[in-house]
């Protein structure tokens, strides 16, 4: 872009134009030297040439200092601050993201451990229930055993009692057959029980 480049260089052109006026006006100023003192001093053309000269000098100096020193420095400071602020914001954002991540992790961990704990609790509840059922059953069976034992004992005593009776009968019958004498029932019973006691 040659055109834009030319324009870029020509942005100083009005300074050249300004100096051009300095060449144009002196003749005018000289022709009207020493005008009347009445009226505004601004229209006293004799002062024009020197004012334009010093305007050009001071404005060129001013422009030079502004464009080479002041503006770059202020721009630098502002840019630097902008950068710093952006950096801080980015840092804060990344820290926040990190914190979010940690929070999410923590929450996930919390949920996991909670579910794990729930599982453990459920398991132990089940286990306890099972054990309880087992224990109940065991209790039930032990009761059955007890009642069966009682029945057995009862049967046993019944049997033993009937055994006594049978033994007495048998003993009485045997004695009658062997010696032919009838022994009283009470005597037989006494003897038999004595013998049985001895055996048991």
């Amino acid at each position: 872009m040659i055109v834009s480049k030319i324009i870029y260089y020509l942005r100083n052109l009005w300074l050249v134009a300004l100096s051009g006026i300095a060449y144009k006006l002196p003749a005018w100023a000289a022709s009207k030297k020493q005008s009347d003192s009445s009226g505004l001093p601004q229209f006293d053309t004799s002062t024009y040439s020197s004012q334009i000269f010093w305007l050009i000098i001071s404005f060129l100096l001013f422009y030079f200092i502004m464009s080479t020193k002041a503006i770059p420095r202020i721009a630098f400071v502002l840019r630097e601050r902008q950068k710093r602020i952006e950096g801080d914001i980015n840092k804060a954002n990344s820290l926040r993201e990190e914190a979010d991540e940690i929070r999410i992790k923590y929450e996930r961990f919390l949920a996991e451990s909670r579910s794990q704990a729930n599982e453990i609790i459920c398991n132990s509840i089940n286990q306890i229930a099972n054990q309880r059922a087992h224990a109940k059953e065991a209790l039930k069976s032990s009761e059955k055993i007890k009642s069966a034992e009682a029945i057995i004992i009862e049967q046993k005593t019944k049997a033993l009692n009937s055994l006594d009776f049978v033994a007495c009968e048998a003993a009485a019958a045997a004695t009658r057959k062997l010696i032919g004498t009838q022994i009283s029932k009470s005597k037989v019973t006494k003897v038999v029980t004595a013998i049985m006691r001895k055996n048991t």
């Binding site: 324009i7 002062t47 200092i65």
Partner: protein
């Protein structure tokens, strides 16, 4: 009583100087141009030193003038105008310094000199015209006939447009000059009243206080107006209309 326009008198300082037969004697107007240059340069370079994070008051002020001018240029000219930013900024600060310095007692207001304001505005005018012609070539001359104008209006409209274009530097310079002259003359007139009225002089004195505050406003406002109109002319040159 001292004439209220005596304050605008150019007084030579030192010996008469000549360059190629032209009178370039140093005077009070020139002195204040140099003072303005030194003060503003010192203000803008020394206040903005090394602190990057939190600026102090004077640095904030320097940054504010910078950002203010950036805003004027970017809003009125656009991105392309940023190439001219140093010039616009210098222009604004130079005129602002001239206007504000002039309010100080015994100071000279160089912006109250028609030749100074006119020299600045004619330089701007010529520079902008050259930029426009380089950028747009012959298309630039269409500027004097807005598009969509009926052909039979052209003989009437073109002279009007040319005249209004040529009067730009005049209106630009006279606006600043007249504002400065009027304000300072009025202050001087009221200053005269304070003296001549004796004990009753405190009434115009009170008015003078208010007037001084008003002059500060005018000083800033006129510098701003000068800058913003320059920006508008520049944007006309860059984009036509």
């Amino acid at each position: 009583m001292v004439s209220s326009i005596a304050q605008f008198q150019i007084k030579p300082i030192g010996a008469e100087l000549h360059l190629f037969g032209i009178d370039i004697s140093f005077n009070n107007s020139a002195l204040f141009m140099i003072i303005a240059t030194i003060l503003v340069s010192a203000f803008l370079t020394q206040s903005v030193k090394s602190s990057y994070t939190i600026p102090n008051r004077i640095q904030s002020l320097a940054e504010m003038t910078y950002e203010f001018t950036t805003k004027i240029v970017s809003e009125n000219v656009g991105i392309e105008g940023m190439a001219y930013f140093p010039l616009i900024f210098s222009l604004f600060m130079f005129i602002l310094a001239g206007n504000l310095l002039g309010i100080l007692p015994y100071a000279y207001t160089f912006t109250s000199q028609i030749i100074v304001t006119f020299a600045i505005s004619i330089a701007i005018f010529l520079g902008i015209t050259v930029i426009a012609i380089i950028k747009h070539g012959t298309k630039f001359f269409r500027f004097f006939l807005p598009s969509g104008t009926p052909v039979y209006m052209a003989p009437l409209l073109i002279p009007i447009e040319i005249l209004s274009y040529l009067s730009r530097p005049i209106s630009l310079s006279v606006r600043l000059f007249a504002n400065m002259v009027a304000g300072h003359t009025m202050m001087k007139v009221f200053g005269g009243f304070v003296i001549s009225l004796g004990a009753a002089g405190f009434v115009p004195l009170l008015f003078l206080v208010a007037l001084t505050a008003f002059e500060v406003l005018v000083a800033v406002l006129q510098a701003y107006v000068f800058t913003i109109i320059t920006c508008i002319y520049l944007s006309d040159a860059l984009y036509l209309h």
